[in-house]
């Protein structure tokens, strides 16, 4: 296991040596991506990855947490368990199938939304630009759908792990059930919920197929939600088999290296957070 993880790191490091030598650290913050002139900067891809992930989490967190609260606190177990299983089934759906639905359902829907919104709000940079349909918004929404089940299933688990005495105490003080959830139960499970968000983040960052299919694949940095963009994973999927030049290939591998490092860090953090809840329930607050 360690060997596999180590091998991945070493292979990526060695294969990207050429690009690292040629571009140094500026690879990370220059935004030219020109395979013909062999000048490479990864900033548009890093931006695209971070922006789509941010949109996804902004949508998925309230939705997922809400559903988790409902499934853990309100519903009887006999109803909540099968429903949770159904939501967890969403995790098993292959990402290329999300992409398929994204291309044929979500993108046309967003295109007509953009056509409706464009004339009214087009002067605001966030909504500017022609209505392609494909772009940051489409990718963000699709990713949100893909990561919601992670947030629901892990958050529900940690909410259920909150000791009943905590709830009883808050209710006995005269809090309504909602106030109990908001002020006692959720804060108690805080780090576990944060862990679930990090898991969702890692998945969203590394997601390849679905994003490649709906993001528009254009290495530009635009402020508009409607603009086509590109992510690190998507550029790998599209260009890796077409990279003819050594430096080009090395630049792509370096993108993989950056992606690997980011997801590694986020995953490690997520596991630590979740582990801290499971290891010491009740220890945080006497």
């Amino acid at each position: 296991m360690i060997a596999i993880a180590g091998t991945i790191a070493i292979v990526l490091l060695r294969r990207s040596a050429l690009a690292r030598a040629a571009f140094g650290w500026s690879f990370l913050w220059t935004s030219t991506w020109d395979p013909v002139a062999l000048r490479f900067g990864a900033l548009p891809f890093i931006y695209g990855t971070l922006a789509t992930t941010a949109i996804a989490i902004a949508i998925a967190l309230p939705l997922g947490l809400g559903a988790a609260v409902c499934l853990a606190e309100l519903m009887p177990r006999r109803l909540a368990d099968p429903l949770t299983f159904l939501i967890e089934l969403l995790v098993a759906v292959p990402s290329v199938i999300y992409g398929l639905v994204g291309v044929f359902v979500l993108v046309p829907a967003i295109r007509s939304l953009e056509q409706a919104v464009g004339p009214v709000l087009g002067s605001i940079p966030l909504f500017a630009g022609p209505a392609y349909g494909v772009g940051l918004l489409a990718a963000g929404i699709l990713l949100a759908v893909m990561v919601v089940p992670f947030i629901v299933s892990v958050s529900r688990e940690v909410l259920l792990a909150v000791p009943q005495t905590q709830r009883d105490a808050a209710l006995a003080l005269g809090a309504t059930r909602w106030e109990t959830v908001r002020d006692v139960v959720v804060p108690y499970a805080r780090s576990g919920i944060l862990g679930s968000v990090f898991l969702a983040l890692a998945r969203a960052l590394g997601e390849t197929m679905a994003v490649t299919m709906v993001i528009g694949n254009r290495p530009e940095i635009a402020a508009s939600l409607f603009a086509p963009a590109y992510t690190m994973a998507a550029v790998l999927a599209n260009e890796f088999t077409e990279a003819t030049d050594e430096v080009y290939l090395a630049a792509l591998v370096e993108i993989a290296l950056v992606l690997f490092a980011i997801t590694l860090a986020i995953n490690a953090l997520a596991r630590l957070l979740i582990a801290s809840v499971r290891a010491a329930p009740g220890a945080q607050r006497p």
Binding site: M1, L12, L89, V96, L100, T263
Partner: protein, 282 residues
Amino acid sequence: MNATYRHRRRVERLMFGATAGATVATLGVLVFLLGYIAWQGATSLSWSFFTALPAPVGEAGGGMANAIVGSAKLLLTAALVGIPVGFLGGVYLAEYGRGSLASCVRYAADVLNGIPSIVIGITVYALVVIPIGHFSTLAGGVALGVMMVPVALRSTEEFLRLVPDSLREAALALGAPRWVTIVRVVIPAASRGITTGLLLSLARVAGETAPLLFTALNNRFWSPGWLQPTASLPVMIFTYAIAPYEDWHRQAWAAGLVLLALVLGTNVLARFLLRSGAVRSA
């Protein structure tokens, strides 16, 4: 009932209503997804989908027989690579894993689980495809196998841990050495759970596309042996969905339905197998 209290009750109803709404929305997405794919897929599915090769561009009809066989071969290779490593690793963790090495392995498995599949694809490209010189079923299978390992490992470990210690102690008390205890008593007791876990790990990689793009590539014809590029269902869906031909889109939906039925079917089956007890006599 004073005004503040009524206000608090209103807030409570409002917020709980919102959480119920979130649940309904999430479930709605699932129902829509399944329903839409079933509808689109069923109307596109035909007998020739399972028996014919892809038709040349511009010609209607054709199928994905080569992709179905290709997927099966890839999964077989993946199983041969991933199951032994994952299974044995899981046995080690559950039965011998106590010290810091074991927790390191556990941690590495969890972290590896979250690594983008495309990164694994690139690594396998460098380690398998470049030495061989071209894309192949073997390379695709290895990539999928590597992806299986963390899931297979952790599920094997968890099910072995469910076996009560009294069973182990009984075997040891009868004079069985440790390895006999594990092979003859512990593993058979957890066999149902372990098999289910391995099946789930296989289902998980069955739909993976990204690691196949530059390991197995694609192929519009039959792929003989293990050393030629091969078609697979997920890659076919990807290629067909982003192509501009209406007929290809229909094929992509059909393939999507077949793949989804396969993956979700396995998941539901696993759920039912586990409901009647993952571990015997536990």
